[in-house]
């Protein structure tokens, strides 16, 4: 029944529309006008609307900044993230004025130069000077952004020197869970391969490898000591996942058959971050950020950053692979 009502309503709207258009055409014809001509008055109106759109659009932008701006990620909880945030801010300080100014010019021109039969357009087909200016100025701004970006990128991507004290974790992604494996006392990860997956050994750790014995496997939640570099090695045992740590400004794909890595230094404990965000239930989280199947939207693991002592205590409670 509902469907029939909807169909009838749509038909009525269409028929009304057709009739209205016909009337408008007949009226224009009786006045000796072409309905499709853009009349001066109508054109001016559109120019004015575009100009008003400038204020609406910029107002909308400002409103979103106030309303939703505070909801973006809190300050970086990692060392390198501070540099990323700075560069991000700098980029926004460059692109926001460009965005606003070009829109002011665009929409102001639309209003100012809307058609008038009394005016002639200015025949102005090129100017080497102007074109040089707007090639060179963006180039200079870009040079700054590129250089700072590359500097940042290279620092972030540098592996941790072997002699620096650090935590080594292998993070394995599979549909739709994460498993963290700590390297243990020997600071070395034992071998792992998909062919070794069997029963409880869900990520395929090689039991025969000496280095595997003291490795510790953790699911659901994992802990990190504050201010100590963490070296992550990523793998996947089925399809591509992406380990995304938004609060630490860190992300790396997990690719079956390929080993990838990323390292960062957590600088704020979970307790500190709870204070900063004013949210007592705040938790750092690792999420999957590469489409990986039906439950992709819920592939997560909590991260607790805590003092070295608390971390040592927690780690001691975890069982080794040998056990």
């Amino acid at each position: 029944m509902m469907t029939i009502i909807v169909i009838v309503a749509v038909l009525l709207v269409v028929v009304t529309g057709v009739q209205l258009l016909k009337i408008a055409e007949l009226r224009a014809k009786s006045k000796g006008e072409n309905i499709y001509d853009v009349k001066e008055k109508d054109g001016k109106m559109q120019g004015l609307l575009l100009f008003l759109f400038l204020f609406a659009y910029m107002g909308y932008f400002a409103w979103q900044m106030c309303e939703w701006g505070p909801r973006v990620l809190p300050v970086s909880a990692s060392e390198h993230g501070v540099g990323i945030d700075f560069l991000m801010d700098l980029t926004f300080w460059i692109i926001t004025p460009v965005f606003i100014l070009t829109h002011v010019v665009l929409l102001w021109f639309c209003y100012k130069y809307a058609y008038s039969s009394k005016r002639k357009a200015f025949f102005f087909s090129h100017s080497n000077k102007l074109e040089l200016i707007w090639t060179v100025v963006p180039s200079l701004a870009l040079t700054v952004l590129i250089l700072m970006g590359l500097n940042n990128w290279n620092t972030i991507m540098d592996p941790i020197p072997a002699e620096t004290d650090h935590v080594l974790i292998e993070m394995t992604g599979q549909q739709f869970t994460w498993t963290a494996r700590y390297a243990g006392e020997d600071k070395k990860l034992g071998r792992s391969h998909v062919t070794l997956i069997e029963g409880a050994n869900a990520t395929g750790v090689d039991a025969k490898d000496e280095f595997s014995k003291d490795d510790k496997l953790v699911k659901g939640e994992f802990h990190l000591p504050v201010n100590v570099p963490v070296q992550f090695v990523f793998r996947s045992i089925d399809i591509i996942h992406s380990a995304y740590f938004p609060h630490f400004r860190a992300q790396m794909n997990c690719v079956p058959g390929v080993s990838t890595q990323f390292n960062f230094v957590p600088t704020k404990t979970t307790a500190e971050m709870r204070k900063i965000t004013g949210n007592d239930e705040f938790n750092y989280v690792l999420l999957c950020n590469k489409i990986c199947g039906a439950a992709h939207y819920n592939m997560q693991m909590d991260i607790i950053v805590e003092s070295q002592e608390d971390y040592d205590k927690w780690l001691a409670e975890q069982k080794t692979f040998g056990e």
Binding site: H126, W153, H296
Partner: protein, 592 residues
Amino acid sequence: MSAHHHNENDFLFKYIFSTDHKMISKQFLITGFTMGFIGLVMSTLFRLQLGWPGESFEIVELLMGSWQEGGVMAPDKYLALVTMHGTIMVFFLLTAGLSGTFSNLLIPLQIGARDMASGFLNMLSYWFFFVSSVIMLISLFVEGGAASAGWTIYPPLSALPEAIPGSGAGMTLWLVSMAIFIVSSLLGSLNYIVTILNLRTKGMSMTRLPLTIWAFLITAIIGVLSFPVLLSAALLLVMDRSFGTSFYLSDIYIGGQVLDHTGGSPILFEHLFWFLGHPEVYIVLLPALGITSEIVSTMSRKPIFGYRAMIGSMMAIGFLSFIVWGHHMFLTGMNPFLGAVFTFTTLLIAIPSAVKVFNYLTTLWKGNIKFSPAMLFSVGLVSTFITGGVTGLVLGNSALDINVHDTYFVIGHFHIVMGLSAIFGMFAGVYHWFPKLFGRMMNNKLGNLHFWTTIVCAYGVFFPMHFLGLAGVPRRYYTNSEFPMFDNMVDINEFISTFAVLALFAQLVFMFNFIYSAFRGPRAPQNPWEGTTLEWTTPVEHFHGNWYGDIPEVHRWPYDYSKVDANGDYVGGKDFIPQTTPLGEGEKDGGH
């Protein structure tokens, strides 16, 4: 003409297997828009899920039938819709629909040719496209559902039905459809290139070509060089899926067993895919920019500013588009040095893009602008090109990309800079050349209404996505309700979805205007916008061959608008001088 032995008035050869570029153009337009509308409806459906997760909608149940009993979308069906939406919009609407329509319509008309170099290949190009569209739609109805691995179809997800049901028969049909699509695209592109280079009328030198034609030429060259790479990527994927090879697969444990595949790398697929994937962005965008250049100049009654710089920047964009694909892969674990190189080349694209924007602005300056719906959409394109373009500086910078990669920030960016710009260019083109396509005029008031509702909804949908992205919300999530950190995103998602639904209704205004005007609109005069280019010298009615007598000769560049003599009077008495008018005594050609 190749079809001379058929009676061209037969229904079959006039409307179906036509070799006339104008008819083929209309075929591309209507097929493209039909596909586009389907893609739009899909996006509205999954936006319902994102805005109001888990709620039941009658419309979902009605349209998705037994896929979705109870009207609540399931996660894998959500992914199927996302995948098909992307595929249809990028390839079927904005590649074939846009290039196919306007390259076919305008290349012969604007360069002064009676038809394409090969009308027969042109016809084949359309029919391959048609078949590929049909197969893509059929893939919605097979067991397991349509392809669901995202429009980028990264293996292993796309290779293993165990990973997601859509990677079964749905994915097979996706690959078949795309292979046929690529054949269509190549036949079209080769035809465009050959026609532009060889069939220009007397006097139509390369520097007298309208910018539309330059845009189509560069687009076609990019297409010819990059689509075959996607074809090979797809073929290797077919091999992996069906013949047990291991190009992309290695070390996989799924469905309780270890697969035999060893030694392949999914990263290889990503390289091959993005070698097309990135140029594809410009295959979509350049025709829209070319169309806009033409309309902005005509409707401002002013020459386009910096004609040569516009060509130069399009060439630069075309060239650079081939050496930036790695910016889609910063986080695949590729060598950081490579990431640095791709950052550098990517950010360089901002320079020619900025030049284009400034040249548009200068063209408007001191113009005498007539706001037809086509002009409104062109202004809209400049706005979206800026809005979406500036955030490219964030994403192209590898260090910044780390934290916004694959988030809604990306979705906002590319929908605005590529999706909206291209579709605005396509709408602008339809409004502007409707008199050439159908011999009738569209209704301006409805056109204006269409523009205003569309741009408001478009920014309502895509602007807030930047904030979602900066809050860390990943793309391709069925719902954001599983993470406490996203709990305060609920109202933003509702906001976006509301505008998405409204945007769908706004397109109905266009659909009505289009269909009504094609059959009942007022008859078009020969040159309604007082343009200078050759298409406005052809008669309004269509016949194979375009001009009754000889093909006109060209004597000047296409942008002689409001040219005045020493006394301040218009040269030739009007504010435009057709390209066919010989140069006056002492008059210099063009803006160079």
